[in-house]
């Protein structure tokens, strides 16, 4: 009996000590020190009775933001007391949060920063926090489009890289399923390049082309040869159509004497400039990057392929972004010869030609197998190779992946998700020798930006927030659709969210330009913005084609908001001229006659080009109709606007 009492007494004592110990431990936490510090700072800064009173009443206690809608209870402000206080001490944890569009009271902290919101000790709270370098990944969980471009530039750069290297070809992403075929169609590749060139390319694409979009698949020499053997042996369905002119072209070339040949090449050079090939292709360090560089085309592509390609690119690759130019045989052959000679010229000291490799059937069969197992079909179309089924892991909820479900293998990489992704991008085989992912030619900075993009792939969007649905792509059918297809307008121009970003958005073009000007421009484009390398291509359209396109654009691509502005100039051109040169200083950006700047388009023919309503809208607020317009919002008052527009409408030709 007595013994039992002793035992209970001892147990009660131990319990009391434990409880006291726990209380002491809980009491002696850094956050109390921080709160005392903050209170002192408040008292020192208090310069009015109300602020003094507030500082006096500041209580040392756990502070929690409870956000039932977001299913969060964040206690971060227990230590981070100054987040919303711009005059808070500069040092963490009391420092103020930099400007943000989100309020702490509505969003809390962990929605963006991750980590354990309920914890009040640094080590536990910050354990799985998102590193600050990649914090913009959180913006991408809810936002897209313009907001990301303007507010989260690091993530935006990551998005561009992800598109460039076609991550989506193998992986599902948060906002879209896998989509195939962003690389060239490989049907007929044997006509275009040699087996030797292919082996060289497969060894390391970046060695041939600095900014190659294709990654290095780290293939063995045998594998490179086998794939080249397979690809050069693939039969080409359109061969007869594509090479229909081959013999006639060859006869034409043979029939030329030296003088005629030289003249043909000279004209090819003139044509190269006139068609504005440099808008998309680069040669001798100048030009665009939408299409392949032409510096070494003679070392890569065969002459017969190039001549046939210039005639009808779509017969070779139905998905090509290159438009079909209207060229005569002499023009076509001349342009091809010019390009081949230009690239040979640069290549005088090239290493001695290696003989073209001879492949065996065994190699071809092995290559066919590799084409499937290495996932080439994810980016390249090839007849008879299906491109469906699972291939690479889905990244749709990469951000939510549990760290203990990830295999780090033997690699000495810190066991966190951001480090895993960064390591995988830098050394794709580091977590296992049999992994399939290629190595892309990324700089260390690009690796970080792409990691930010990867961490934005999350399936857990806070309730009530939804990414925008992808709009259905803009499409035109009928005769106009065939013109859009032939001239590949959407390779450079964007219309209602679809198309390229090289040239102006045409969504409101019908409300913007005059139909007659459009016809003449389509037939014979000129430089509206003289400083740009990328200019409208001279597509050699027929009068009828240009008229059909102009009709479609002026009728369909309209914007009611712009059309609601005055359709007439209706002001005083003389006063408008004074305003142009005086108050609004338009000449500092716009060229007119021999004067003016180069920032905006030249205004010499603006009266014949633009519609008055569009000018009114533009002078009011250009940004409403142009998402990434560079002109500052002018907000010209209505009276001034009428006069300015009246002056601009008088500019229909040369100004002296």
């Amino acid at each position: 009996m007595n013994r039992l009492h002793c035992f209970f007494a001892a147990a009660a004592l131990v319990l009391a000590f434990l409880v006291i110990g726990l209380i002491v431990r809980e009491y002696d936490t850094p956050w109390r020190t921080y709160q005392q510090e903050y209170k002192t700072s408040l008292q020192q800064r208090a310069d009015s009775p109300t602020r003094k009173e507030a500082a006096r009443r500041f209580a040392v206690k756990i502070r929690q933001d409870w956000l039932p809608e977001l299913e969060r209870a964040d206690r971060c402000r227990t230590c981070h007391l100054g987040v919303a206080d711009p005059d808070a001490p500069r040092a963490q944890p009391l420092a103020a949060h930099p400007p943000t569009p989100h309020l702490f009271r509505t969003f809390g902290c962990t929605v963006c920063h991750d980590g354990a919101g309920y914890a009040v000790r640094e080590q536990e709270a910050h354990a799985r926090r998102l590193p600050m370098q990649v914090i913009e990944a959180s913006c991408g969980k809810c936002h897209d489009g313009t907001i990301i471009r303007e507010q989260a530039p690091t993530l935006a750069a990551g998005q561009v890289l992800a598109k460039r290297y076609n991550c989506n070809g193998c992986h599902d992403l948060a906002d879209r399923k896998r989509r195939h075929n962003s690389g060239p169609d490989l049907n007929g590749i044997g006509l275009k390049v040699s087996g030797g060139w292919l082996i060289n390319w497969l060894r390391d694409p970046a060695a041939w082309l600095d900014r190659a979009r294709m990654g290095n698949f780290l293939l063995s020499g045998e594998e490179q040869e086998a794939l080249a053997a397979f690809l050069t042996s693939v039969p080409f369905q359109n061969k007869i159509d594509f090479l229909a002119e081959e013999e006639a072209d060859a006869r034409f070339l043979d029939g030329l004497d030296d003088d005629a040949y030289d003249e043909l090449v000279d004209q090819g050079k003139v044509l190269f400039g006139r068609l504005r090939c440099l808008s998309c292709h680069s040669l001798h360090g100048r030009g665009g990057s939408l299409g392949p560089e032409l510096e070494r085309i003679g070392r890569k592509s065969s002459g017969r392929w190039l001549r046939a390609w210039l005639k009808a690119p779509r017969l070779y690759d139905p998905e090509t972004i290159m438009p079909t130019f209207r060229l005569s045989r002499a023009e076509r052959v001349g342009l091809a010869e010019y390009l081949l000679l230009e690239s040979d010229y640069l290549d005088e000291n090239k290493e001695t030609e290696t003989p073209e490799p001879v492949f065996t059937d065994e190699q071809r069969i092995r290559g066919a197998r590799l084409f499937v197992t290495r996932g080439c079909f994810n980016c390249h179309a090839l007849r008879g190779v299906p491109n469906s089924g699972e291939f690479a892991p889905s990244l749709a909820d990469l951000a939510g992946r549990k760290i203990d479900k990830i295999s780090f293998g033997e690699a000495s990489v810190p066991h966190t998700l951001p480090d895993y992704i960064a390591a995988k991008l830098q050394a794709p085989r580091i977590f296992g020798p049999n992994l399939k992912m290629p190595k892309f030619p990324l700089t260390p900075e690009e690796t970080g930006r792409l990691t930010t993009f990867a961490l934005a792939q999350s399936a857990t969007i806070p309730p009530g927030y939804q990414r925008k649905e992808q709009k259905p792509p803009f499409a035109v059918s009928g005769p106009v659709g065939r013109l859009f297809d032939r001239y590949r307008c959407l390779s450079c121009h964007r219309i209602r969210g679809s198309g390229g970003a090289l040239a102006p958005d045409l969504s409101d073009e019908g409300s913007k330009v005059e139909r007659n000007w459009l016809i003449s421009y389509l037939r014979k484009p000129y430089a509206i913005r003289p400083t740009l390398t990328e200019r409208m291509l001279r597509l050699n359209m027929t009068e009828k084609e240009a008229a059909l396109l102009a009709d479609y654009i002026s009728l369909v691509l309209r914007n009611n908001e712009i059309d609601a502005f005055p359709q007439q100039a209706g002001g005083d051109p003389a006063r408008g001229k004074d305003l142009y040169y005086g108050r609004y200083n338009c000449q500092s950006c716009h060229g007119l006659g021999t004067g003016g700047g180069y920032f905006g388009p030249a205004l010499d023919r603006v009266g014949a080009r633009l519609r008055p309503a569009w000018l009114h809208a533009r002078l009011d607020n250009g940004h409403r109709f142009e998402e990434d317009g560079r002109e500052p919002v002018l907000a010209v008052p209505k009276a001034d606007r009428a006069d300015l527009v009246a002056f601009l409408m008088t500019l229909t030709g040369d100004v002296r």
Partner: protein, 133 residues
């Protein structure tokens, strides 16, 4: 006897090969990558300023060449003027501040926060001018 030599030799080879392989593809942890973040002012600068003031802020942008008074070398003025003065030039343009009249005002284009972001980026540009490379 043979085995006693073979095993260490084998292990040595194995680890040596492993060391070489690791050497060739040792990835940097995220924290050791060079600073890859892009400040929010950068896209604003590219959109509105770069054409005249140039990529490095030296006033050598392609559009600036045509101006009667050349655009300011931002690297030279950024540390000489207060943040408030610089903000005023961005908002109201050159003319009211007695500077290059070709500089337009962005008061109806940029929000107060965007001006702050742009000023932060200009400070970065100024810093780069001070210590090239």
């Amino acid at each position: 006897m043979n085995r006693t030599i073979l095993l260490p030799a084998f292990l040595l080879l194995f680890f040596a090969a492993g060391a070489v392989a690791a050497e060739t593809q040792k990835p940097l942890p995220l924290g050791e990558l060079p600073d890859f973040t892009i400040s929010r002012g950068a896209p604003l600068y590219q959109r509105y300023c770069l054409f005249c003031h140039g990529a490095s802020g030296a006033g050598d942008g392609p559009a600036g060449l045509s101006l009667a008074t050349p655009p300011a070398h931002l690297g030279l003025i950024i540390n000489k003027r207060s943040r408030k003065q610089l903000g005023a030039v961005i908002l109201t343009g050159g003319r009211p501040n007695g500077l290059n009249p070709s500089m337009p005002g962005f008061d109806k284009t940029l929000s107060a926060r965007q001006v702050e972001e742009l000023l932060d980026f200009l400070r970065e540009l100024g810093g780069r001018q001070d210590n090239p490379g």
